[in-house]
C-alpha cells in the first residue's frame, strides 16, 4: 500500500499514527507540509527505520517550495508528480493520513 502524509511531524501526530499502523510492504510518500518530516531534525527518528529500508519518498515540488531541499535526509527519495503516479500504480491502494 501507499500512504501519503500531508502534515508536519511537529504539528500533528498523523505521521506517527501512519508509521505505527502500516505493514512491512507499505511505503510512505510525504507531500505538502508532510515534507517537513523529511528534513534532518529532532523528529527524524520517527522515519529513520523506514527510510533506511528505502520506503520513504517526498514530493520534490513541496520540498523546494519550503526551501529545505538541502536538509532532506539522504535515504529519503525525492519524486516528482510522475513519480507520485508511478508509486500509486506500483503500490495499489493509497491511504491519505491527514
Amino acid at each position: 500500500m501507499l500512504h501519503t502524509v500531508n502534515k508536519s511531524v511537529f504539528e500533528r501526530n498523523s505521521l506517527q499514527s501512519c508509521v505505527n499502523t502500516i505493514d512491512d510492504s507499505s511505503v510512505i510518500l510525504l507531500i505538502e507540509d508532510g515534507v517537513i518530516s523529511a528534513a534532518n531534525n529532532t523528529k527524524s527518528s520517527v522515519l529513520a527505520d523506514l527510510a533506511a529500508e528505502g520506503r520513504v519518498y517526498a514530493l520534490q515540488g513541496d520540498v523546494d517550495a519550503r526551501g529545505i531541499s538541502s536538509k532532506v535526509a539522504d535515504n529519503i527519495q525525492l519524486v516528482d508528480y510522475e513519480g507520485f503516479v508511478d508509486l500509486v500504480v506500483e503500490h495499489g491502494t493509497a491511504v491519505s493520513w491527514l
Binding site: 508536519s8 519550503r66 531541499s69 536538509k71
Partner: protein, 128 residues
C-alpha cells in the same frame, strides 16, 4: 504582535498573516512579528514554488522593512528543533532613518523566554 506558527503553502495561514500585517502597517500600527514552531519555515531562504504552481510569497517579507516593520523575532528553540539555524533564514533588512538610513537586520533570534516577555509587553497579539 503577529504570531506565526504554520509552515507556508500547506495552509493559507502564513499568507493571510502577511496580508493582515501589511494592512496594519498601512494604518500606521506598531507591528512586530514572531515566528515560532513551523512558522519559522515562512522565512527560510531559497523557497521555490515552481513545482507546486503556487505563488512564492516569500519575497514579500523583503518589503516589510519599507513598511517600517523591522521587529521580526524568531524562536531559537523552534529553529534548533527543526535542524535550522539563522544562516538558513532570508537576510531581511530595513533602513534606519535615525542612523543615516543604514541597512540593518530585521530578524532577531530570541529564546522562548525572551519571546514570552515580548508578548507580555504587547497591547494585542494576533495568532496565525
Amino acid at each position: 504582535m503577529y504570531l506565526n506558527r504554520k509552515a507556508p503553502y500547506g495552509t493559507v495561514y502564513a499568507l493571510e498573516s502577511l496580508e493582515v500585517v501589511l494592512i496594519a502597517a498601512a494604518f500606521e500600527q506598531d507591528v512586530s512579528l514572531a515566528f515560532i514552531d513551523d512558522g519559522v519555515y515562512q522565512i527560510v531562504e531559497g523557497q521555490n514554488t515552481d513545482g507546486i504552481g503556487m505563488k512564492n510569497f516569500s519575497k514579500t517579507y523583503h518589503a516589510l522593512g519599507d513598511y517600517d516593520i523591522n521587529q521580526l523575532y524568531v524562536s531559537a528553540e523552534s529553529l534548533e528543533e527543526r535542524g535550522l539555524s539563522a544562516d538558513d533564514l532570508m537576510p531581511l533588512v530595513y533602513e534606519d532613518e535615525d542612523d543615516d538610513w543604514a541597512e540593518k537586520p530585521s530578524v532577531k533570534i530570541v529564546t522562548n523566554a525572551e519571546l514570552s516577555k515580548l508578548m507580555s509587553e504587547q497591547d494585542v497579539c494576533l495568532s496565525f
